[in-house]
């Protein structure tokens, strides 16, 4: 990720303006806010993570004990497996689905704009409202899904969707897809609009059908967007909390436990703030490492140009 690298022109040390200390004034408001509410808690996390602390008494120094515990905590470890599965799911249900819909709804004919607007609309909904709503949809006894199955004579297929490990995580992924596919659709749609129409015309003249055009023009030209959306999905996935909190809260049998739900449980439900903070430190390291690797990969493939 390149920084504002070219510093010719105005950046290049203008005559008569000294070292540009005054220019710092432009950055200071943002920096203050950022330092107070992002950097400082991040730094203090490092301290608290080395203590045993219930949030009430004084923190007691325990060295690396919290980290030892974290790596022996089977639910904590499993939560990373779950979040990985969830991220893979979001790549399918959010990113890929959004891409397909972007292509399908890419038309100037009347009606398509309305479809795009409707398709995007769940993005505007709050996650908590979405979670509450979908709980009612998936409810075993009275939910919409099972009621529909019964309605079409498939009552035997009715499942306790959110209560069995085999389906609970998938349900969360589906809702996640429902909620966010629209966002990716719009991002891809915008990118599609930037592809010169002449490329498609040239390909059509060469005899390429719609599917071939998609794979040999659309997809390669959207590579950069796909990679950026992928990064959004990955970092967003690790931060995922709202849907899990409102839909399953980690259950059944911790099969939908993700790092954040487990952290909140440990810190606040179980009054172990020190341990919870240690888990946040681990989460931070994991996410940063993955993001950096991802960016390195993306940079190497020359797809992400900043």
């Amino acid at each position: 990720m390149a920084i504002a690298a070219q510093n010719n022109g105005l950046g290049g040390g203008r005559p008569g303006e000294g070292a540009g200390i005054a220019n710092l004034l432009f950055v200071i408001p943002a920096l203050t806010l950022y330092a107070l509410f992002v950097l400082w808690p991040l730094a203090s996390s490092l301290y608290y993570s080395l203590t045993d602390w219930d949030g009430i008494g004084a923190p007691r120094w325990v060295g690396l004990a919290n980290f030892t515990r974290a790596f022996a905590d089977d639910i904590h470890l499993a939560s990373y497996v779950h979040v990985t599965l969830y991220i893979l799911g979001t790549l399918v249900f959010e990113v890929s689905f959004g891409l397909v819909m972007a292509v399908m709804l890419n038309s100037d004919r009347p009606g398509f704009a309305l479809l795009r607007g409707l398709f995007f609309s769940p993005v505007v909904l709050s996650m908590s409202a979405a979670g509450v709503l979908w709980n009612f949809v998936f409810d075993y006894r009275t939910g919409l899904v099972n009621a529909m199955l019964k309605g079409i004579g498939l009552g035997d297929w009715a499942q306790p969707w959110l209560s069995q490990p085999a389906t609970a995580l998938i349900c969360v992924m589906l809702v996640s897809g429902w909620k966010f596919a629209g966002l990716y659709m719009i991002l891809f749609f915008a990118a599609l609009r930037r592809i010169p129409r002449s490329l498609y015309e040239a390909a059509t003249l060469e005899g390429a059908g719609p599917i071939r055009r998609f794979f040999s023009i659309t997809l390669p030209l959207l590579k950069q967007n796909v990679l950026i959306c992928g990064l959004l999905a990955v970092t967003g996935g690790f931060a995922g909390f709202d849907l899990f909190f409102t839909m399953t809260n980690g259950q059944p049998y911790n099969s939908t436990e993700v790092p954040v739900t487990w952290i909140v449980k440990m810190a606040f439900d179980s009054d172990q703030l020190g341990y919870g903070i240690a888990l946040t430190v681990i989460l931070t390291v994991v996410v940063s490492l993955i993001s950096l690797l991802y960016l390195r990969f993306a940079e190497r493939s020359h797809a992400v140009e900043y």
Partner: protein
């Protein structure tokens, strides 16, 4: 742009539209179901889950509004969102300009530090931030959410904005500078009007995010008087989980206005999102 010149209504277009419409209808049904179910009685919802209400019970809405204290939630959400978005947009625009165009000590390092926030998930500091806000005496105040949300939106806003700044031609600023404008006036008279589209874009993205933010709201606010909508809805549905009609009514009240707002300003929202790179 596609198709204005093509003959309308070829079978393939109809197929494309039909498929799209089916998917979109499927996506919208749960929300519609929620809306019309909010006018049913609880019994009706269980007995005939997807039928329309026999009689429309408008009183469900007033009951939910009163019991959920939704008015307060609305006001709080609006205050928090507006203040955070404005704070973030102002600070990030200033900083993005400096990072893209000005020279000052520590520029590269500071920019990288800001970019860290792009990759960090907010839960990474949630607990430490909680204790810090408590020490600052900000817990249970809207300021806790305003500062936290604004700070956590800075990185992405700054990143998008400085990317946008780099697409702007330097000549405008150089011209203004030659005319005698100092750095601040270049920013105010030339830059700010030109980056307005980008500010609107990022503000829209931030509005959606902050309006829906749940975790900070759950952790930092325990007082009814300063709760925001997402946390309020979770709490309300917990209390009344036995009363589907009432929960649906509350969900309808809280989501329908924002949906209407979205559809009214839809062109702008989408144009904003899609203008993220060009012009």
């Amino acid at each position: 742009m596609r198709s204005n010149t093509e003959a309308p209504g070829t079978p393939r277009d109809w197929l494309q539209f039909g498929l799209g419409a089916v998917v979109v209808a499927g996506m919208c049904f749960p929300a519609l179901w929620m809306i019309y179910s909010s006018f049913k009685t609880n019994r009706e919802i269980f007995r005939t889950p997807y039928a329309l209400p026999g009689t429309w019970h408008w009183e469900n809405l007033t009951k939910a509004w009163n019991e959920g204290g939704l008015g307060v939630l609305y006001v709080n959400s609006i205050l928090v969102t507006a203040a955070s978005v404005i704070l973030c947009a102002g600070f990030a625009t200033l900083a993005a300009y400096a990072f893209a165009r000005l020279e000052f000590p520590g520029r590269r390092v500071l920019y990288r530090i800001f970019l860290i926030g792009l990759l960090l998930p907010p839960p990474a500091v949630a607990i430490a931030l909680f204790t810090q806000l408590r020490d600052m005496g900000l817990l249970n105040t809207l300021w806790a959410l305003i500062f936290a949300n604004a700070a956590w939106s800075l990185s992405i806003t700054l990143y998008l904005m400085s990317g946008y700044f780099r697409t702007l031609k330097r000549e405008m600023e150089e011209a203004a500078r030659l005319e005698g404008a100092d750095t601040f006036r270049v920013f105010w008279y030339v830059i700010l009007p030109m980056v307005k589209p980008a500010i609107i874009t990022t503000a829209i993205l931030n509005t959606i995010n902050i309006w829906n933010e749940l975790m900070f709201a759950l952790l930092f606010i325990s007082d009814d008087a300063s709760r925001t909508l997402p946390a309020g809805i979770v709490r309300f549905s917990g209390f009344h989980s036995t009363n589907y009609a009432l929960v649906f009514a509350a969900l309808t009240i809280t989501t329908v206005p924002i949906m209407i707002l979205y559809f009214v300003s839809q062109r702008h929202v989408i144009r904003g999102l899609t203008a993220a790179r060009a012009d």
